[in-house]
Structure formats: structure tokens, C-alpha cells
């Protein structure tokens, strides 16, 4: 039960980072309203502008550092070592699929480890990452003074917005999709579903050997051309265009009317049942792959654009200092 009661990243440490972000944002907005700029209006070159800019850059570095920390090889080694130790000490017959398994315990222990980095847990870092990201949007927007142009300076801001948007999309996905994934997969795993699909294919193949060729062609097509995952479009949409399994399920009904022998009717009925089951399994597999793909996809924008943001931020500072 303690797993369920564990605070989420959004409420970590009694909303510590939410409070911190609120304070920073309030101070920034207050200063922005209070500070009387010269006739040039608010922009990055005023004292407040520089302050906001330096603060924003610091936050970007902290957020980027979190990304680096998560991917640091020593950490992975440490994690593997820990997992190895845990496995060796765990009873051999332990059912690893149960929530209270040693792997889960190890993961929870890893997440909540107090001295992960700078005496903040990984969950704490993530919580800070989320809220400081929101703070960054406000600070950077105030830093711009709402002045935009076709330049590397505005491009940095655009990258920041993209990184933030993808990050919050990721947060949304990770808040919602694991629950949906559990509903879709139930007790199964994707591998188990694929095994079941293969078993159905084999049973249908044997069952249909004595059936006419058109029935076999349908099953063959369904078996060979039904792809789970396979390409980016299918992964992200969770459906296969002109899915052969769906087509087979529809056509077998039509073909069934052609065959009148008792034995054939029985086989067709059985095949229909099998193909419907396969269709259900294929749909579940498609959705499971889609959920996983979507949980991964945002990172394919978030990470490269984070790197681009760091690059553009460096160029932004370089351009300002170079032509001081």
C-alpha cells in the first residue's frame, strides 16, 4: 500500500518545488511590474533583463544537468550492481511479477534514495525539474520583454518553449498512460500477447489446411502481413492501415456462406472464432506498443531540443558578449 500512498512528483516534499517556483515567479512578475524601464521599455538589456536572463540561464543549466545525471554511465553501473546484488540475495522462487517483488522494492529504494545527488532523491530532482521548467517559461518570457525578432535570440526562446511543451506533454503522458497500459495489458505482457497471436496463427493454419485456397490465402495474409509496431506511424497511431487480420475476420464471414458441408461449416466457425480472438489481441498489442511509443516519442523532441536550447543559449550569450 505504501507504493500507492507515495507522493507523486508533483507533490513531492510537501509541494516543496511548487512553493519555490511560486515564490520565484511572484518575485519576477512583481519586479517586472515595479521596475520602471527607460524609454526603451522592457527588454533583455536592462538591469532587470540581465537578472532575469542570468536566472533563466542558471535554471536551464540545472534542468540540463538533471538530464545528464540521469544518463550518467556510473549511475547505470551502480544501478546494475545493486540489481545484481538484490537478485542474488532474493529467494530463487520469488514471483517477479508481483508488486512487492525484490525488483520493485529495489526500484523504489533507488527512487527514494536520499543521497542520490546533492542529498535530493531522484523523485525530488524530477519534481524540481518539472516546476523549475514552468518557472523558466515565465522568467524567460519576462527576459524577452515581449520583444521578438528573426534572430538566434528569439530562436533560443522558441527552443525553450518547445522543450517545455514536450516536457509537459511527457508529464501528461506519464501521468496518464501507465494506468491505461495496465488496463490494456492486464496480467499479460506484450511478449505474451505476441505468443498468443502466434499460437492462434498456427492453430488456424492447421485447422484450415483442408479448407479451400481462398480461406487459406486470407489466413496466410493475416499471418504474414499483420505487423505489431514495425514503423513509426503504426507505433504512434496504434493501428495498421488495411489490417489483414481485420480484413480476414470480415471476409471469413463472407466466405463462410459459400461452404455448405457440415465439416466446413464447423471449421469456418472455429476459424472465425480464432481470427476474432487474434484481432482482439492484435488491437491490444497495437495499443500497448502505441502507449510505449508515445511515452518514448516526446523524449525524441525533448532531449534533442534541450541540446539545441543549450547550444542556442550559448550562442545567445556569445553574440551578446561578442558584440558587447
Amino acid at each position: 500500500m505504501d507504493w500507492i500512498q507515495r507522493p507523486t512528483v508533483l507533490t513531492y516534499g510537501n509541494n516543496r518545488y511548487f512553493k519555490l517556483s511560486s515564490v520565484i515567479i511572484s518575485i519576477a512578475i512583481f519586479a517586472f511590474v515595479l521596475f520602471e524601464p527607460s524609454n526603451t521599455g522592457h527588454y533583455g538589456g536592462t538591469i532587470l533583463g540581465y537578472t532575469l536572463g542570468v536566472s533563466s540561464a542558471t535554471i536551464v543549466i540545472i534542468l540540463f544537468y538533471y538530464g545528464l545525471l540521469k544518463r550518467r554511465p556510473p549511475l547505470q553501473r551502480e544501478r546494475r550492481t545493486k540489481l545484481y546484488d538484490t537478485k542474488n540475495t532474493a529467494p530463487q522462487n520469488e514471483n517477479i511479477s508481483l508488486p512487492s517483488s525484490s525488483a520493485t522494492k529495489e526500484r523504489r529504494s533507488f527512487l527514494s534514495r536520499k543521497n542520490w545527488r546533492f542529498h535530493v532523491t531522484l523523485q525530488g530532482w524530477l519534481s524540481g525539474h518539472i516546476y523549475l521548467g514552468g518557472t523558466l517559461i515565465v522568467l524567460a518570457t519576462l527576459h524577452t520583454g515581449f520583444r521578438f525578432s528573426w534572430s538566434v535570440h528569439t530562436l533560443s526562446y522558441v527552443f525553450l518553449l518547445i522543450v517545455s511543451a514536450t516536457g509537459y506533454y511527457g508529464l501528461y503522458i506519464y501521468t496518464l498512460y501507465p494506468r491505461v497500459m495496465t488496463q490494456i495489458l492486464g496480467q499479460d505482457t506484450l511478449d505474451m500477447i505476441i505468443k498468443q497471436i502466434a499460437e492462434i496463427d498456427e492453430r488456424a493454419r492447421i485447422l484450415a489446411l483442408d479448407m479451400p485456397d481462398d480461406v487459406n490465402q486470407l489466413l496466410l495474409k493475416s499471418r504474414l502481413e499483420t505487423h505489431i509496431g514495425s514503423n513509426l506511424y503504426q507505433m504512434l497511431t496504434g493501428e495498421q492501415l488495411n489490417c489483414p487480420t481485420a480484413y480476414a475476420a470480415k471476409q471469413i464471414q463472407v466466405l463462410g456462406a459459400k461452404y455448405v458441408k457440415n465439416e466446413q461449416i464447423k471449421i469456418i466457425a472455429e476459424l472465425y472464432s480464432l481470427i476474432l480472438r487474434k484481432k482482439t489481441l492484435v488491437n491490444r498489442a497495437h495499443i500497448a506498443v502505441m502507449l510505449k511509443a508515445r511515452m518514448d516519442a516526446w523524449l525524441y523532441l525533448h532531449v534533442p531540443f534541450s541540446v539545441a536550447l543549450m547550444a542556442s543559449l550559448s550562442v545567445h550569450v556569445l553574440a551578446i558578449l561578442f558584440y558587447w
Binding site: E36, G45, K292, A293, V315, A319
Partner: protein, 564 residues
Amino acid sequence: MISCLVTHLSRNPQGAPIGTESVINSDVLDIGRGAACRIYLPDHQVYLHHATINRGDDGHLYLICHAGIEIRVNGAMMHTVPLNIGTHIELGPYEIIVLPPAQGCDLAISVEMLEQHQLVRDRAIELHKKSPLTIAALGYSKRKISILFAFLFFLLFVVIPLLPKFSTSLNDWQAELPVTMTDSWRPGELSEGHDVFGSKCSVCHRQPFTAVSSEVCLECHGNVPSHFKAESTHAKDTKKMNCTSCHKDHNGKFGLVLHDSSRCRSCHANLKKQKPDTTRSNVANFKSAHPSFRVTLPSLENATEPLRPLLNDKAAVVEQNGLKFSHLAHLNPKGISSNKGQMIMVCEDCHRRNAKSKNFAHIEMQRDCQQSGCHKVRYRDPMVGVVPHGTVGEIEHTVHQFFLNQISTTGTIPKEECRDIKGNGVQRSLGCVNRLTFNLLKISLFRKTMSCGECHEITGHDSEDMSWKFAPLKINRDWFPLAKFSHSKHTVTPCEKCHDKANSKLSSDISLPDIDKCRECHVGDKVADHKVSSRCDSCHQFHDGLSYPVKAGIKPTHVDPTQK
């Protein structure tokens, strides 16, 4: 009858073949998926009745496909296949090879499922596993995409913008492009005057990582007056105060000049502490920390500097202009008597705005004082006449000419005034004209209280010759020469709201409004409801040079932007 030895091959895990032999005797050997087929090939890719093996008329054995079906034989698609030894036939997932016939058999064949089809059937799970199920399995790498992004960014936004810095010809070439190589680094639009430099950053930005120096600005703007006296110790402060302290470019077409008062306040808010010997007051804010105005008055005799008393020093603020004038009389709300009757005068009757100057137009005697018949320069005694408004000499000459004409025309000399004049006729006539002129000027025109004496301070009445002395006129033209003020922006305010002239009897009265009057409408930098915010440069100019002359001999360097 055909006797055929069929060997079904399969492979063990090491890949070695394992054969199962059977002999089939029949006239026709059916091959297919159907249970009735003699050579049974259980796979969907094999038709129910795929082909038959028959003996041809020539005694050879042939494999004949059913209508519409072809099979691959030694790589070629065929319908009828002569079953020669060594023939390779691909039938669905199976490979059939014709072997040398064993003893007692007409035909020997081996049947084996091809390896790739074996995978399809028996290792469907593996096949599915080979199908990519995650984005990473598709070959997309976050790290590679990130590196590509960073590389492209470095190329587009670091290398390209910096290239013109290292080549003058490239710099010239790129400046003509619709989108220049340095545009991506431009933080904002250049000011109107500097826009001519376009994308040639090096015109102003000479050294990397170094702020634009004042020397660069002065190459073009060398004749801009200084804010400090050259000999002032505070001139050293100019080193701390660069042009760019107040003039920051890339802030739009009209954003070059700093109008904010903060820079001014940085010195003037605490000026007395920074420069104890200064006569100037500390100024921090127009609304609450600004001294009374200093009015500029004409210098006293033998003095070069003008007087600049504080406006609240009533004793000192007196204008010795040499005129007699009563605003009270002229601005009588009931009117003032004139040749045209009772005339009600307003300020604009005399103080006319000058479109070309911040000051009013000069008051002209003829236009402003004599237009209604008032203030004609008349003389009455011993006869009535008018002289034009002019210098003492001109008036003397006019009167002189008048009497000369009169005596010449009549040929008689007035006995009463000129009785004692001796000499011949001409001497007596000229002497008489001089006397009559002197008398008229003394009694009538230059009398202290009438004609010229109505407005001018005249002395010299006791003198025997015509040594009249008019008090010199020092009419102040500009009360606040160091400040900007536009009456045209204040037309909504009645004159008397600021200038209390309705009760002024003397021309020495100065009815200029002090700062408190201005503060009724104007506040400092901070915007306030129903008030006009006023910064330092609302009234003062940093580069007005105060009372110091513009640096002599400095001419602007004419920079041709196309040549740099």
C-alpha cells in the same frame, strides 16, 4: 503406374538432415495441401491440389501444375516440369529435388521445407520479436539527433555569423544579401540614423567582447556639445560616462536616446556631496526634489555673466528693462480707452506666438501698440503733430526738418522764441530751428510723463543742449534659456493660470510661474493618474552645452557606410 520414393527431410538443431522415406505407387501422384493428396504438403502456401506427377507420352515423368498455377524451377517460373535428376522445384515453402531413382522406383524426390519458411511457421514469435516494437528499435537515436541538432546550430548560428568578421570582401558581399549572414545575431532593430550601416556590425563593434567606445561615436558626432566644462574636474567623469551609457542601439528606430532620468539622477541626486563647491542644487525628482527655478536676467553693467536668481527670491527677481508698462491698465476687464473706443485687451494682442521659435515674437511698436491709434508719438505744444517711433536722433531730425520747412516756407522767424538770436538771416533761422526743436522735445515729446516718456525713462531735461538720455532697453527674450518649454503645448491652459499679470503695475514685475505651479500638472518620472509625467529631458538637454560654447574646430567625420 508410377513408383516414387519420397524422402521428407527435416533438420536437427545442428542443421543435419533427417529423412523419412516412403514409397508411393500410383498412376498419378497428386501434390497439395489436401488430405487426399499422395504427396501431402501441409502449408497454406500450397494449394489444396497444387500439381500432379504424370507419365508423358514419351515415357518421361512430368510435374504438371493445375490451371493458373506456376512454380519456380531452377529459378524460372514454369507450368510443366520434366522431372530430370537434379531438378530443383520450389513449391510454396517446400523445395522438391529430383534424386537419382532407387532400385525398383521410377522416381525419387526429396521434400524439405525451406529454412526461411520454417522460421515463419515455427518461429512466428521470434519473427514478431524481430519486428520493431519501440521507436528505439526503429533506429532513431536521441543522442544522434541531438548531435546533429547541435552541429547544425553551430554551423548556422556560430560559424556563418562570424565569417564576415574575418573577411572584408565577404563582409561587403553579405551586406547586400536580402538575409545577411549576421542577421541572426542582431538583437534588435537599429535606430533610424544607424540603419544605414545595415549588417556591417564592425562599423561600430570594432573589438570582440569590448563595448562600443565613445571614440567610435565621436568619429561621426564630434561636434556634439559636451555636458561639462572642459576645464571642470568633473570632465573626468566623462570617462565613466560613455555615449553608450545613454545611447543604446538595437532598440528600434526611435529607441536610441535614453529618456529615463536614472542616469541624470546618478550624479545630480547627490551633487553637493560629490562636488562640495558646486552652486547647483541636488535634483532627484521633479515632483519632490527639484529646487525653485532660476530665472535668467540680463547682466548688470560691466558684467559678462547673466543674472540667474532663484525665482522664489522675490527681491532679486526684478527686471530692469528700462520701460514703463502696466499690465494692470492694459488687461482691465472693463477695457481700456482708445481712439476706437473702450477696448478689452487680451494677452495674445501683444504676445504673438512665433512658429519658428520657442519664444514669442518680438513686440513691435507699430503693430502691437499703435494699431488702434494708441501710443502714437504725438506732440501738442506749440502745435500738434506725430513723429514716427524711432531713435532719439531720428525724432530730433524729424522735428528739426519740420521747423526748418516751416521757417523756409513762411520766411519769418518767430519773434517770441528767437528774439535774442543774433547773426545774419541764415544764422538766425538755423538757431531758431534748433531752439524750437529743443523746446518741443523738452516740453512735449521727451517729457517724462507723456509721449516717449509714457514708456521710456528719459533724463537730460535740465541740460541746455539736446543730450537726452533714454534708459537702455534690456528686454529679456528668454527667461529659461537652459530649459525647454513650449507655449504651444500649453495652449489649453489660460495665460493667467501661470502668469499673474493682471495685478502688475510695473514692467519690472516678473510673473513667471515657479515650480509649484508646474507641479499642479507635472509629476516626476513615475506615471500618475491625471498628471503629466516629466523626466529630466522633458525640460533639459544633456548636450545643450549649457552656457559653454560648442567645441570649436571640430567637424564631423563623414563616414561612408559603403566603404567600411
